[in-house]
Amino acid sequence: MDELIIAGRKFNSRLLIGTGKYSSSAVMAKAIEASGAEIVTVALRRVDITNQNDDMLTAIDRDKYLLLPNTSGARTADEAIRLSRLARAATGINWVKLEVTPDPYYLLPDPIETLKAAEILVKEGFVVLPYINADPILSKKLQDVGTATVMPLASPIGSNQGLKTRSAIEIIIEQANVPVVVDAGLGLPSHAAEAMEIGADAVLVNTAIATAADPVKMAESFKLAVQAGRMAFVSGAAAESQKASASSPLTGFLRNE
């Protein structure tokens, strides 16, 4: 069985889905259902005490989906740790997507604060899934401190540019001891399929689904793309042929054997 295993827990779906940017909780719930995802990310924000909105948490069936709180909004390790503890108090779940993004324009993750926070959170018993730029050394260091996965970005959040960091992600995948989840910037199902074809263990998609004209259909499309990409990877797709440059024969000396 080709299951995804994170922190000892098994999943059938390799598509993780985010819940931001939807037009309504109802659409969000339908899209999550269509995606087949089993892990759903959420964020923490102050309650708007002047305006009682829909509480989106009620739209997600906690028995069906694993809620993965993220620490979006945190700009430092301390803030991320604080948010993680709050999230754990809210849900009783100790899984956290660690996101430390001091830059409000590209929302790129801070490698130093992320590593600092990861080390502390792992010690406090959290299952840490860190969001990072596609940095192979950082990935190894995070694994050394005990994170459950690494989540390198394909391109900046919401940019929908696809696998701009492909070469680096390939190295991360080659060297990883934990599942690699490609997160951020996957704008099309073909991007998700590509990530799976090169060996990613899973992908996380939010913007491309939430902002599509038909999010439910787009969610299903991503689901199929992830499955197709994974199948291709497992079946050993042939790569581009290697061109050997013409040069004098190197094994002629063995002819006498």
């Binding site: 295993i5 922190a7 459950a148 060297q175 001891n177 050993g236 581009e240 050997a244 002629g252 063995l254």
Partner: protein
């Protein structure tokens, strides 16, 4: 520790895949069934792409018809990663006293011959000669003579050698992590140690007594020296004990495991091929042909683009001259495998017979003639260690 972590251990990896012996027949059958189309698939993958299946295919009898293509790719990959260079090193044998009874080895404790061990001063005299030849990369070798060639002896020797040699590594009996750590602190930056054979039955057959007779203990050695911080992790199998193709599969799994868990060190492969040795009956081995050895080197190079690959003077000159274009990155020259052999005053027994007897200068000339630069000094551990008083 999560459930998953417990499973990742080289012993379990080999056992799961039947590579420690029980799956021998299955693997041999698979090797025999590989088709040309599969070889073409394997060749089309990016250099450095390693999965067991790819290596299996490249090692198969079917791949023997593709050696030239493999060689061209291996040559290009090695050139890109390592440049037009080959590192040179010399072995310094410190002792041939041994407490182990390994059937294939010239130093087997039950072989009757006068044993010799070098004092620190004698070892330094040997090293002087080696340094005069131009070497700056030294490999200290010893059989299992822990009592005399102790951790303290090695640390003292390494400290005294550092002014002359920029890189010191060892190929000696297995020790504990904290002992390797002492060696590392004294300036020894690499350890080479061979599992000899990954097949448990074969291992039992050839390792009759002594600490080395314990397969699992032996298998854990690279973990110990990697944990101690060694920069160079050398592994290998003694080719000729078990089937070379299966050994290569096990060796590759071992390498990948080490690369993933000790990511700040470099894994290197060596290819010790059984050679005639005093008082050892050769008829019991599965000797490999030159073609087999070449296929092994090429297959590994295609799967591990960054691994070091070392060839010693066990191998004949003509073969070594070709191997330097096929993926080899480091070679010994002018080697003496008998303690005291460089100063030549003891007439002691060597571990195995040397074949390539050329001098270091001749080897260097050979490399230059192939447009390769002999590198005598690579990394200098001296940068990071406290200053040594001369």
């Amino acid at each position: 520790m999560s459930v998953i972590e417990k499973q990742i251990d080289i012993k379990n990896i080999l056992a799961d895949r039947g590579l420690d012996g029980w799956g021998k027949d299955i693997w041999m059958k698979r090797l025999g069934e590989i088709k040309p189309s599969e070889v073409e698939w394997a060749l089309s993958r990016k250099p450095g792409y390693y999965v067991l299946d790819r290596l299996l295919i490249l090692l198969s009898p079917a791949a023997e018809n593709y050696l030239e293509q493999m060689a061209q790719i291996a040559h290009q990959v090695t050139l890109r990663r390592f440049g037009r260079t080959v590192r040179l090193y010399a072995p310094l044998y410190l002792s041939n006293y041994c407490v182990n009874g390994c059937v294939y080895c010239g130093f087997n404790k039950s072989n009757p011959f006068p044993r010799i061990r070098l004092s620190i001063e004698q070892a330094l005299a040997e090293a002087d000669i080696i340094a005069k030849e131009g070497f700056r990369d030294l490999l200290l070798v010893s059989s299992e003579d822990k009592e005399f060639i102790s951790v303290d002896y090695l640390c003292e020797l390494a400290t005294k050698l550092r002014p002359k040699f920029s890189s010191i590594s060892v190929e000696i009996y297995q020790m504990a992590t904290d002992e390797y750590a002492k060696l590392f602190a004294a300036g020894i930056e690499g350890v080479t140690l061979y599992q000899e054979t990954y097949d448990r039955d074969t291992y039992r057959k050839y390792h009759l007594s002594g600490p080395k007779a314990d397969y699992d203990y032996r298998l854990s050695a690279p973990d110990s020296y990697a944990k101690a911080g060694m920069r160079e992790i050398g592994i290998g199998a003694l080719l000729g004990l078990s089937d070379w193709r299966l050994e290569t599969l096990s060796l590759a799994e071992h390498a990948q495991y080490l690369m993933k868990h000790y990511w700040q060190s470099r894994v290197s492969f060596s290819f010790p091929r059984l050679r005639p040795a005093k008082d050892v009956d050769q008829s019991q081995f599965n000797l490999l042909s030159d073609k087999n050895l070449v296929q092994m080197i090429l297959a590994l190079r295609l799967c591990f683009a960054d691994a070091g690959m070392t060839i010693s003077t066990r191998e004949p000159a003509y073969l070594r001259d070709h191997l330097v274009t096929l993926g080899i990155t480091r070679m010994s020259a002018g080697s003496k495998t008998n303690p005291g052999g460089y100063t030549n005053h003891t007439g002691s027994v060597g571990q195995f017979e040397i074949d390539d007897k050329r001098t270091p200068a001749q080897i260097a000339a050979m490399l230059k003639s192939q447009n390769l630069e002999p590198v005598w000094k690579d990394w200098d551990a001296g940068f990071l260690l406290p200053p040594v008083s001369h």
